[in-house]
């Protein structure tokens, strides 16, 4: 068992939990989006920690590719969520 893998893996679990808690408790839609992004970053850290094989050894490239895909999907979901929030607010203003 690699120390770095365990350290980064356990930190990733903490970040996922922090993000989930904030996403459920915040009332601001913008901050909920931030919280979900933090949670996603925790998942990415989990995958990168799993891919790590120790200093000097080539890591597993498959989780890296998954995380790259995940980052791009996360930013498009963020953009759509913010556009929805903006529209929601414009509707509320009209009422």
């Amino acid at each position: 068992m690699l120390t770095a893998q365990v350290l980064y893996g356990l930190t990733a679990c903490v970040i996922v939990a922090l993000g989930l808690r904030a996403a459920l408790l915040h009332t601001s839609l913008l901050q909920r989006v931030v919280a979900i992004n933090v949670m996603g970053a925790g998942v990415f850290m989990l995958l990168i920690a799993v891919a790590y094989r120790g200093p000097g050894l080539p890591p597993d490239p498959l989780p890296h590719a998954l995380v790259l895909t995940g980052i791009v999907v996360a930013v498009s979901a963020t953009a759509l969520a913010l556009a929805l929030a903006r529209r929601l607010h414009a509707e509320q203003d009209n009422d």
Binding site: T3, A4, V6, L7, Y8, G9, T11, C13, V16, A17, L18, G19, L20, R21, A22, L24, L25, T27, S28, L29, L30, Q31, V33, V34, A35, N37, V38, A41, F44, M45, L46, I48, A49, V50, A51, Y52, P58, P59, D60, P61, L62, H64, A65, V67, L68, T69, I71, V72, A74, V75, A77, T78, A79, L80, L82, A83, R86, R87, H89, A90
Partner: protein
């Protein structure tokens, strides 16, 4: 570097990552939250570098911290304190005034239980030695993939399906944004110092994007990092108050938006007609086909991310000029 100093570095890095995440989520100030989130993303990029994932580090710095941050910051600017439905009702507790103490504790316990379960599963997985079947399969077939960067080989060759669908997700997201209304008006023209910086920065960003696209075949880089860098050039132009931010108009814009998915599908279907599997490149042509797909993907990704920053269909230059005039009259 010896083991102890590496351990100290890891400790400091993880401490700042958790600290920034906590600080970003604990505040009720939306701007502060977003800015701390951007710092969190940049420190994460350092962590990805530490774990020997330079491709992910580049993408995190450009997309995760950079463009997500720009999107969130623009949203926080447009509706100061307005994005929260309950913001006008009395004081706001860090975790929301509408949530009772009981449910706050329940959510905290639920999150802690999730973290515990995850950690238990992770330690269980780490305690056995990894089989490494897939990494061996990747390195065994790398020579016939057309590129020498294993991450690019996975993204554009071995798991090209995933990337095709990912580009489709991007296209769907921007179509959703288009359906929600017009883009927001541009910014006021920048002062001479920022304007001078923009003149230098935009060509450098475009050049960097081209370099990242080319170098992705054999070193960290690729279409995603390049597309994000290209989009950043447009974001800088928009922040400087330019009415033209590098996006084409009308029909050409739609072609650029769909180019990534389109070229990907075209290559896959042509190969199918030639009797090969869908997206199963012939090894001799793999390098050229991957570069072709990546170029189209870079343009689509850049256009998509920039349109997301604009927040919808870009308004014409006349509308922006009119908005600027109106602002000047008001001030």
């Amino acid at each position: 570097m010896n083991t102890t100093s590496l351990l100290v570095f890891d400790g400091l890095l993880l401490f700042s990552i958790v600290g920034l995440a906590w600080a970003s989520l604990a505040t009720t100030d939306e701007r502060r939250s977003v800015i701390l989130f951007m710092a969190f993303g940049l420190v994460l990029a350092v962590a990805w570098g530490r774990l020997l994932a330079p491709d992910v580090a580049l993408a995190e710095a450009a997309i995760g911290a950079g463009l997500s941050g720009a999107l969130l910051l623009a949203a926080a600017r447009k509706q100061p304190r307005l994005l929260s439905p309950g913001s006008s009702k009395g004081s706001r507790h860090p975790d929301g005034a509408n949530v009772s103490l009981v449910s706050r504790w329940a959510v905290t316990l639920l999150s802690a239980a999730l973290a515990g379960t995850l950690a238990w599963a992770l330690l269980h997985a780490f305690s056995s030695t990894p089989h490494d079947m897939l990494p061996r399969a990747i390195s065994g077939n790398l020579a016939s993939s057309g590129v020498s960067n294993p991450v690019t080989a996975v993204l554009l060759n071995f798991r090209a399906y995933d990337t095709l669908l990912e580009l489709a997700v991007l296209l769907t997201a921007v179509l959703g944004i288009f359906a929600l209304g017009q883009g927001t008006p541009g910014y006021q023209p920048a002062g001479p110092i920022f304007d001078g910086l923009v003149r230098w920065l935009v060509p450098v960003l475009i050049l960097t994007a081209g370099y990242l696209l080319w170098v992705g075949a054999h070193a960290p880089g690729g279409a995603f990092q390049a597309g994000a860098t290209l989009a950043a050039a447009g974001v800088v132009l928009r922040l400087a108050g330019r009415s033209r931010i590098g996006l084409p108009d009308g029909f050409v814009l739609r072609i650029v938006m769909a180019a990534g998915v389109g070229v990907f599908l075209l290559v896959g279907l042509t190969l199918l007609l030639l009797g090969r599997p869908f997206l199963g490149y012939p090894p001799a042509w793999a390098g050229a086909l991957i570069l072709l797909i990546e170029t189209a993907a870079m343009l689509s990704i850049a256009a998509t991310l920039l349109l997301a920053f604009v927040g919808g269909q870009p308004q014409s230059a006349d509308v922006n000029a009119a908005a600027n005039r109106q602002r000047e009259e008001m001030s």
